[in-house]
Structures are given as C-alpha cells and as structure tokens.
C-alpha cells in the first residue's frame, strides 16, 4: 500500500506542476504581454482556465494531506525549517486566488481592476518561485537540524543560489506550459502566430534557466550533474525530454495543439522524474546526512492502509468527473441557448 500512496503523492505533485503551473503561467504571460495584446490574451486565458481553475489547486492540498497523514516527520521537518518560504508561497496563493476571482466577479469594472490585476500577475510570479525554492531546498541538503542560530536554521536552510535558480526555472516552466496551452485555445490565425512565436521564445528561456540551475549548483558544490546523469533512468528521461523538444518545434510549425500539449506534459514529467528518481526513496536531504525517506519515515501500517484506500476510492469519483468537466468545456458553447 505504501507504494500506492507514494504514486499518489508523486502524481499529485506532477499534476499540480502541470495544471497549476499552466495556471500560474497564465498570470506570468499576462505580465510579459505588450499592452496592446493584453486584454485579448487575458480573455483567451480566462475562458480556458476558468472552469477547471478551482480543481487545479486541489492537487496541492492532496499532496499536503498525503504528507501530513502518511509522512508526518517529513511534513513537520519541512514546515519548521522552510517556514519562511512556505509563508511567502502561501501569501502568493492567497493573493492570486482571491485577485483572480475578484477581478472576474466584481460587479463593477472600474479602477479596482487596476489593483486586482497587478496583484494577480505578480503573485503568479511569486508563488511558483517560492515553490521552486522549497523543492530545491528540500532535496539539496541545506536544511540543518543541528543549527544553533536563527540564520543558519531558518534562513540558510533555503536561501542559496541553487534554490533561487530552481525558483526561476520553475517560473519559466510555468510560462512555458501556459504558452503551449493557450495555442490550442486560439482560433484566429493572427493570434495563433503570435502565441507560436511566444512559445518558441519561452522554450529558449526555459533552456537558459535550466543552464542557470547547473551553474548555481556548481558554485554551491551540489553534485547536480551526477544526480541527474548518474543513473540510467534519469539520463534516459533527460535525453527523451530533449529529443521531444525537436518534435515540439515541428509541432509548433505544423499547428498541432494536442500533440504540443502532450509533449509539454511529457517534458515536465521527465524533468520531475529525473529530479526525484535519483534520491528515491529519500525526499528531504538534511545537512547532517540523516535523510528523510518515504519508506523509513512512513506512518504506521493502518494509517498507510486507510490513506491508500481513501485515495483509491476518492480517485474513482474524481477522475471521471474531472475528465468529463474538461471534455464538456472543450465542446462548443451555446449547446442550450434557451437556458441562459
């Protein structure tokens, strides 16, 4: 059962990065879009993301609940030592979620929009940035349970060039996912060309940010190269992701939106796989080498069993409903015009 739980945890994190990431990306893209195109971009994004917006963010909660129920020691260690970036991320989540709804549901569209919109776009940037920092700090052995003073216990546990670089990389991935996603949502040729161009540029930005992560790792003496290329599955994953980039350029030029989305999803999955496979079953690396492992720091048997059953039964309800939701909203509007 423990493996069922781990698969759910991993999948929840992946789906949060993919769906939530595309969602954050929407805000980031809005930030980087020129004034002239802004409102069009926003409309397209909103139509695409609106209905599934609420559900996208449930993946994070599922992941957190799995952690605190099944792996309490891991949850509490991260909560204690990464308190500050977690709070920053939470502020981002609050600001973004509320600003998104406020700007779409305010009955009067007036100057308040000038307040909501910047909050929305900047928090779209901040949230994935700190998410990246948290992930990087967890796996890079910066957390020091023996630290005596405030700075080394609660600040240098996460403040490093490596973490910052991973934060930036995460932001770029979100932007990338959103541009790929939006291509399939536009129908006007001019818009399409605009977004295809944008997608190409973001691919280069992502590669640049990825390189930045390696540079930062080098300066922080983190053997990132060895982690990722050290064992065969990780290496294969990275090679597969790189090769699929070539296919992606083909798909971009040939206008194949579904293939594009699949490819983007595939690439991010491979990156997450390579990044997590190398340490598995360890998930949080500590400075003193006493790593926290999903296998040795799991809860008692009955807890894991009931958690596993709860997840399995839950997914029986959730997955079909979610698929049907997405399917319904890809169909044309106005199927029932009388029913306004």
């Amino acid at each position: 059962m423990i493996y069922v739980v781990i698969v759910f945890l991993w999948t929840a994190i992946l789906l949060y990065i993919l769906l939530g990431g595309a969602d954050f990306g929407a805000g980031i893209i809005e930030l980087l879009t020129s004034k002239a195109n802004k409102s069009r971009t926003r409309k397209t994004m909103y139509n695409a993301i609106g209905p599934i917006w609420e559900a996208n963010h449930m993946w994070l909660i599922i992941a957190v609940v799995i952690l605190f129920v099944g792996f309490p020691k891991i949850y509490t260690t991260v909560s204690v030592y990464l308190h500050i970036p977690l709070v920053c991320m939470l502020l981002g989540i609050i600001a973004r979620g509320t600003a998104f709804v406020f700007r779409n549901y305010d009955a009067v569209k007036d100057d308040m929009q000038k307040i909501y919109t910047p909050i929305f776009v900047y928090s779209s940037l901040i949230t994935p940035f700190f998410l990246g920092i948290i992930a990087a700090s967890a796996v890079s052995g910066q957390i020091d349970p023996q630290a005596k003073d405030f700075l080394s216990a609660y600040v240098f546990s996460w403040l490093s060039w490596f973490s910052v670089a991973v934060g930036i990389f995460t932001v770029s991935i979100c932007g990338f996912l959103a541009t790929i996603f939006i291509i399939g949502q536009t129908h006007e040729p001019a818009d399409k060309a605009h977004f295809v161009g944008k997608a190409k540029r973001t691919i280069f930005i992502v590669m640049f940010c990825g390189a930045l992560v390696f540079v930062a790792a080098y300066f922080e003496n983190i053997p990132l190269g060895q982690w990722i290329f050290g064992d065969a599955p990780g290496l294969v994953a990275i090679i597969a992701a790189s090769l699929s980039l070539l296919v992606m350029f083909y798909a971009l030029n040939q206008d194949k939106p579904i293939l594009l989305r699949l490819l983007a999803g595939f690439q991010v999955t491979m990156i997450l796989f390579a990044a997590t496979y190398t340490h598995f079953p360890d998930i949080v690396l500590l400075k003193n080498g006493a790593n926290l492992s999903l296998l040795t720091h799991q809860g008692q048997v009955k807890t894991i069993e009931s958690l596993g059953y709860a997840l399995l039964i839950g997914s029986l309800f959730i997955l079909p409903a979610l698929v049907y939701l997405i399917y319904s909203f890809q169909k044309k509007k106005d199927a029932y015009p009388d029913h306004l």
Binding site: I52, E54, M58, V65, F68, S79, G97, F102, A107, G314
Partner: protein, 442 residues
C-alpha cells in the same frame, strides 16, 4: 508579543476567518439550487436572476474559503509541528476523505458556474446540489478531526508513544456526532440569517422588491428552521461535553464547585480568585438537569480539576453566554416569522419584522465564532485533551509574532475587499438582474 500567544492567535484568526467562508460555501449552494429549481419549474425569471446573483457570491466566497483552507493545511505544520507529527497519522483519515469531498465540490462548482447554456438544464441544476452535499460532507469530516482533539481515540498512549493507531476509530470518536451535527445546523443558521438580513435591508430600502422578496424568503426559511433546531442540537452537545470534558462544561458555566441540584448561571462576572460568579442570574437545578437529565444529578466543578489543567474560565463563560443568548434571540425571531407566515400575513409587509431581520444579520456568525471559542478555549491547556499540551506543540521557530501581524493584515484586507465586492453585487442587482426593472426587454 510572546511567540506562543502569537501562534495561538494566528491559528484562531485563520480558523475564525476560514469558517465564515466555509459556512457560506457550504450553505449557499442549497439556497441557490432551491431558487434554481423554482426557475426551472416556473420559468419565472426573477428566480433565475436570484440564482445567478447568488452564484456570483458563491464564487467569491468559495475562492476565499479555498485559499484560506489551503493556508490552514500548511499552518497546522507551520505553527504546531509537534502536534501534527503525532496527530497527523491518527486524525488524518477525515482530512484525506475531505480531500475527495473538496475535489468533487470544486469540479461540480466548475460545472455549475460555467455551465449555463452549455450543459443540460437539469444536469446543471444537479451539479449545484452536488456542490452543496459535498460541501456539507467536508464540513462534517473536518469537524470530526477537531472532535478528535477534544476526545482523542483510536490509539494507545504508552510512555509518550502513540501505538496501535486506528484511523477509523479516531474518526468516529465520541464527540464527532454531536459536534458535526451542531456545526452543520450552525452553518445554516448563520448563513440563513446573514443572507436574509441583507435582502431584508434591500426590501426595507424599497429597491427591487420582487427580486429581494424571493431571495429573502428562501434564506429566511432555511435560517429560521435551523435556528429552532439549534438548541436541541446544543442540548445534545452540552450533555456530551458534561460526560467527556467536565472541565470544559464547568468553565462554560463558571461552575467552580462540584454539587448536586446545580444552578444554571446566566451572565455574571466570574471571579476566579474567589471562585464565585458575581451579578449572575441563577436558576436552581437547571444545570444539573441540562447536563445529566436529572435535577438532582451531580455536576463536576472546577475544584475537581488540578489547577494546571483548568481552562480559562472567563473567556469560555462569556463566549458560551453569547452563543446561547444569540441562539435564543434567533429562535424568538424565527417563531415570529412562522406566525407571520401562517397566521398574520400582514406582518410580512411590516417594517418592524424587516428591521428585526436586519438587526439579526450578524447574529448567527457571532454565535458561531463564540461557539468555536467555547470549544477551543475550553479545551486548553490541551491541544490533544489529556495527551499533549498546546505549549509543547508550538513551533521552535522564533518570531511568530511577525507572521501573526502579517496574516492578520492579510485577513483584514481580504475582509474589506470581500465586503466591498459584496456591497457592489447587491447594489448592482437592479442593473444586472432585476428583469422587472427593465422595460426594454420584451
């Protein structure tokens, strides 16, 4: 500010904030689907307008509830790591089931909000019902988790170790039923009165009467029926507390000395040093009857509890008085409303009844917050009653006071924006919805 106090206050503010949005998110879908049902049945456009106006409100509240809930799931670890380390695997069952309930709720809400004219009308309506039911279910589950903190079950506590964990037993602890029942009814009372009050105000001001009267009636009926059930459920809770947490009951009642034929103490100022209550109204024997069902039953007082295990008396006592007082006031208003509905139709048009409802707008929510204060403060100094003290559970990180100021500022600004948005939704009703006010439409 002391870090421990800051952590407690931050937790209390976050929960106190979340609970308002959670209740509305839980109950409004029911109001909405009732209005929606009438629209589908009668094709009276006013019902459609009410449904649409409410669904916008639900979207705002749902999102705010969702983000504040997300914050809570992290806050439990950020503020109380020692608690979560041990409690997580034990009381986690309801949380993991709740995840499913939330998910279904979020999906159904996606269908509901964006489904107008895209999906079959009755399927659309049904998704609204699903939003309500799954919201209620998640409320029940999360309260079951809180109930476990009051009456821990499903594990053996041996030499500081938590052994033989049984999450199912932990979920169905002794307090889950009375607390969840009382909470669900409370959600209907508070949302019902709040929504009815707002629409009563608009009727009072004479704007868009057709729209607001229909909205008022739906909310008022839900609220008043629930208000009459609440004392019954509260009585179950009180008997339950008397059995499982006598020290909490004693603090609620400022009942210092164990006695038979114990009086019910109403109001008054508890004096902990001298162990008396000044200026209170005492009704002889009633407390014994309420707690045990027998006027001569023995009610344990605080003298039975070691000093270091006693909850704060004053806060618990005042909070309890506020809850019960407001609860009774709402029952009276509910009875007036029923008389008006059945016997005195002319009252329904009278200004005084509307005024009473306007005054009652915040009562339910005040009672709700007071009730939670009773439950949580009455459990102190324990975070898991009899097992772990709150002070042991707090995070080792210094400087929580700053995080408390930060979150307080965020919650205050959010409350202001949400109020502004709501105010706008309501004042725009005439322009956006009220079809009777639009002669241009054929």
């Amino acid at each position: 500010m002391d870090d421990f106090l800051a952590a407690r206050l931050q937790m209390a503010f976050s929960l106190g904030f979340h609970i308002v949005f959670a209740c509305i998110g839980m109950v409004m879908p029911f109001f909405m689907t009732v209005a929606h049902f009438f629209w589908l049945r009668t094709k009276n456009v006013v019902y459609r307008d009410v449904t649409k106006a409410w669904s916008k409100g639900v979207a705002i509240f749902f999102a705010t509830g969702a983000v504040s809930g997300t914050v809570l799931s992290f806050e439990l670890g950020l503020l109380w790591p020692k608690f979560m380390e041990h409690a997580g695997p034990i009381f986690g069952m309801p949380f993991s089931l709740e995840g499913t309930a939330f998910f279904i709720e979020a999906i159904a809400l996606g269908f509901y909000l964006y489904g107008w004219n895209r999906i079959h009308p009755w399927f659309h309506w049904a998704t609204g019902v699903v939003v309500g039911i799954s919201g209620l279910l998640s409320g029940i589950l999360v309260v079951a988790a809180n109930a476990w903190m009051n009456s821990p079950a499903g594990f053996d506590y041996v030499n500081g170790q938590y052994l033989n964990i049984d999450p199912i037993k932990a979920m169905f602890n002794e307090a889950w039923f009375s607390q969840s029942l009382h909470m669900c009814v409370a959600a209907f009372v508070s949302t019902g009165f709040a929504v009815a009050g707002v629409h009563a105000l608009m009727i009072y001001r004479g704007s868009n009467i057709a729209f607001h009267s229909k909205a008022f009636k739906i909310a008022a009926i839900f609220g008043t029926v629930a208000a009459c059930l609440q004392p019954l459920s509260g009585d179950i809770s009180a008997k339950d507390v008397a059995k499982r947490q006598p020290e909490k009951l004693a603090a609620m009642e400022a009942h210092f000395h164990t006695e038979r034929f114990a009086p019910l103490i109403i109001g008054g100022i508890p004096d902990t040093a001298n162990q008396t209550v000044n200026y209170a109204i005492k009704i002889p024997g009633l407390l014994s009857f309420m707690a045990t069902g027998d006027f001569n039953g023995e009610v344990k007082g605080l003298d039975q509890v070691p000093k270091q295990d006693q909850p704060p008396v004053a806060v618990t006592h005042y909070a309890f008085q506020i809850m019960v007082g407001l609860g009774m006031a709402m029952v009276l208003l509910a009875l007036l409303y029923f008389i008006a509905l059945w016997k005195k139709k002319q009252w329904l048009k009278s200004k005084w009844l509307l005024k009473l409802f306007i005054v009652a707008t915040p009562m339910g929510f005040i009672a709700l917050e007071a009730g939670w204060t009773v439950t949580e403060v009455g459990r102190q100094p324990w975070i898991i009653r009899g097992v772990m003290r709150t002070a042991e559970a707090v995070t080792p990180m210094p400087g929580i006071a700053y995080s408390f100021y930060l979150f307080t500022a965020v919650y205050i600004s959010l409350s202001i924006i949400v109020s502004l948005l709501l105010y706008r939704q309501i004042t725009m009703v005439g322009k956006l919805y009220d079809s009777s006010a639009e002669p241009l439409k054929k």
